[in-house]
Point group: C2
Chain length 308, copies 2
C-alpha cells in the first residue's frame, strides 16, 4: 500500500517559496518522515525531532519517531500506524460505533490492534465481559507500552486477555457462536495482514460470531482505495454477510486523510444503533458521539456505486 522513507537532511528540496514576498529561496533542512502512497500519487510527511527506535521483527519493521507536532509516531514497514495526536479518531471509530450497534456486546475479539488503543476503547463499555487482543507481533505491543503508554492503560483490566498468536488460526479454532464483536484492526492488506481480507477468513468469522454478531474491519481510504473497498464488499457478501455498512472518518496521518471502517453482519441491521446509550455514555471520548456515529454512516454519492 505504501512505500515509506525516512527523510533526512532534505538539502536538495529547494524551490521557489512563492509565499515569501522577497522571492528568497529556502531549503527544507529539517528531518521529515514521509510515507508515499504508491498508486495514489500522494505523500504525507510529519516533521520529526528524532528516531526513537527501529527494529526488524519476524513479521515487519517497526520504527518509532518523536515528531514535532504529532507526539510519537509508530510506523510499520514504512507506513504510519499511530500518532499520539490523532489516533483517537481511528481507535474511537473502530470501537464505539460497532459496540453501540450490537444490542449487548459481551465478548469482543480484536484481531491485530497491537498498540492496544482499540482495546482501551472497547473496555470503556461496562457491558463487555471479555476482550481478547490477538496480535501476531508481540513487539508492537511492547513498543506501544513504552512509547504510547496512554493507549495501554487498560491492558491490566481483568477483562482483557492479550495473546500474541496468529489471528487467522485463532479465528478458525474459535468456538462457534461465541463472539459478539470481531474488530479487525490490522495493517493494510499486504504482508502479514493479507489473510485478514479474504472470503475464507470471513467465513471463519461468521462461524465464530453469535446470532447478532458484528464484524468491523478497517477498510482503507474511501477516496484512493476504492478497489480495495469494492473487493472487501464482494468477499464479505460471498462469505455470507448480508448487511454491510461503511463508516467514514478523518485520519490525518493515513493516505488521503480520510479513512473508513466497514461493519458486516449476517442478520443484525447495521444502520440502527443504541442512540440513547451512545448519547448517555458514561465515558469520555475525543471524537465519537451519537451524532458523529450517525454522520459517519452517511454514504457519499460516489460510494453508492461501491455499496450497491
Amino acid at each position: 500500500m505504501c512505500v515509506g522513507y525516512l527523510v533526512r537532511p532534505l538539502t536538495a528540496i529547494i524551490g521557489p517559496v512563492s509565499g515569501i514576498v522577497n522571492g528568497d529561496y529556502m531549503t527544507l533542512d529539517d528531518k521529515w518522515f514521509t510515507e508515499i502512497c504508491d498508486g495514489c500519487g500522494t505523500a504525507f510527511s510529519l516533521k520529526i525531532k528524532r528516531k526513537l527506535h527501529e527494529e526488524k521483527t519476524p513479521y515487519q519493521t517497526i520504527a518509532i519517531y518523536e515528531t514535532e507536532k504529532f507526539g510519537n509516531l509508530m510506523a510499520i514497514d514504512g507506513c504510519t500506524m499511530v500518532s499520539t495526536r490523532d489516533n483517537f479518531l481511528y481507535h474511537e471509530m473502530m470501537s464505539h460505533p460497532v459496540l453501540f450497534t450490537h444490542p449487548a456486546p459481551k465478548n469482543v475479539v480484536i484481531i491485530g490492534g497491537g498498540d492496544c488503543g482499540t482495546l482501551r476503547e472497547v473496555l470503556k463499555h461496562p457491558g463487555v465481559k471479555k476482550a481478547w487482543q490477538i496480535e501476531i507481533d508481540q513487539r508492537v505491543t511492547e513498543l506501544s507500552l513504552q512509547y504510547f503508554p496512554e493507549l495501554c492503560e487498560s491492558n491490566d483490566d481483568p477483562r482483557a486477555e492479550l495473546l500474541f498468536i496468529d489471528g487467522i488460526k485463532w479465528m478458525a479454532d474459535a468456538a462457534p457462536g461465541s463472539i459478539d464483536i470481531i474488530i479487525i484492526d490490522s495493517t493494510d492488506p499486504v504482508g502479514p495482514a493479507e489473510g485478514l481480507f479474504t472470503e475464507a477468513f470471513y467465513r471463519d468469522c461468521i462461524k465464530a460470531l453469535t446470532r447478532d454478531g458484528i464484524l468491523i474491519q478497517q477498510s482503507e481510504s474511501p477516496l484512493v482505495h476504492q478497489k480495495i473497498l469494492q473487493a472487501m464488499y464482494n468477499d464479505m457478501r460471498t462469505a455470507g454477510f448480508n448487511n454491510l455498512a461503511t463508516l467514514n472518518f478523518p485520519q490525518c496521518i493515513y493516505p488521503s486523510g480520510w479513512w473508513s471502517a466497514t461493519m458486516a453482519s449476517v442478520s443484525k441491521p447495521l444502520r440502527d444503533f443504541r442512540q440513547k446509550d451512545a448519547k448517555n455514555k458514561m465515558f469520555a471520548t475525543t471524537y465519537y458521539n451519537a451524532e458523529i456515529h450517525q454522520g459517519a454512516l452517511a454514504a457519499p454519492e460516489f460510494f453508492k456505486n461501491i455499496a450497491r
Copy 2:
C-alpha cells in the same frame, strides 16, 4: 498558513524502504509538489508530471501542475487550491448545505471562488435568480477556464455575473438586505484574504443579508487550525451572528485532509435544512446528499470547546 515548495529531482531523499524485504535503498527521484503546513508539522505532496504554468499576478503567485493521479492542480502562493480529482468535496460542501438551509435562496454572492467551481454548484439550484462571483484576481478565473474548464461550464449562465474587484469593498457598498447567501470561498486568512476573516467584514455581510440570510465561509482544518476557528467564531459572534454551525468534510489536498466550512446567520436556524428538497434534488453531485449534509453538521466531542 503554508509554505509551498516545488520539489524536483529529490535525489537527496534517500532512506531505508522498510517495506521492501531485501532491505534495498531507493531514491525518491520523481517530481513532487509539496505543501508544508507551517505550524502543523505536516506536509502533503502530489506527484507531478510537469508544471503547466506559473505567473506572478498583482495579488499572488499562481502555478498550475499536471499531477500523476489528481488531474491538474492549482497552487496559489505555494498552497494547494484545487485539484481536478478532489475539488468536488470542497465545492459541493461550500454550496449545497447552505443553499438547502435557506428556505428559498434567490440572490447569492460568492466572495473569492475564482476557479468558478462553487459558482457552478450554486447555479445547479433552479431557484437561484442571480449569482455574483467577486474574485479579486482575474487571472485565477482565466487560468481555471484554461486548466479546469469543467469548473467553468456555468460561467455563461445568464444568472451568473463575474466581477473582478475587491470583495470587501463590494460588500461594504452592497444594498442593505439584498443578499440571501454569502459564500466566502477564499484562500487562507493571510495575504489578500486576511480582510475576509474580520469582525468589520462580517458586519458588512450582516448589513447586506436578507432577514433569513446566511453566510458560509471556508474555515480551515478542524484538527490543525482550531485557533483560527475559535477566532472566527468570536469575530462572527461579536459582529452579530447569533447562529453558527460548522460543517466538516474530507479534503485530501488541504492540510490534515480534513476541512470545514462555517455557516453563520442572525436569525435563521442552521441545523435544520430542506431535507426533502435535498433528497429530491434534480441535479447530480459526487459527494453531497441529504445524509452527508446531516452528518457534516455533527460536531466532534473536542469541537464542543470551540463551538461553546
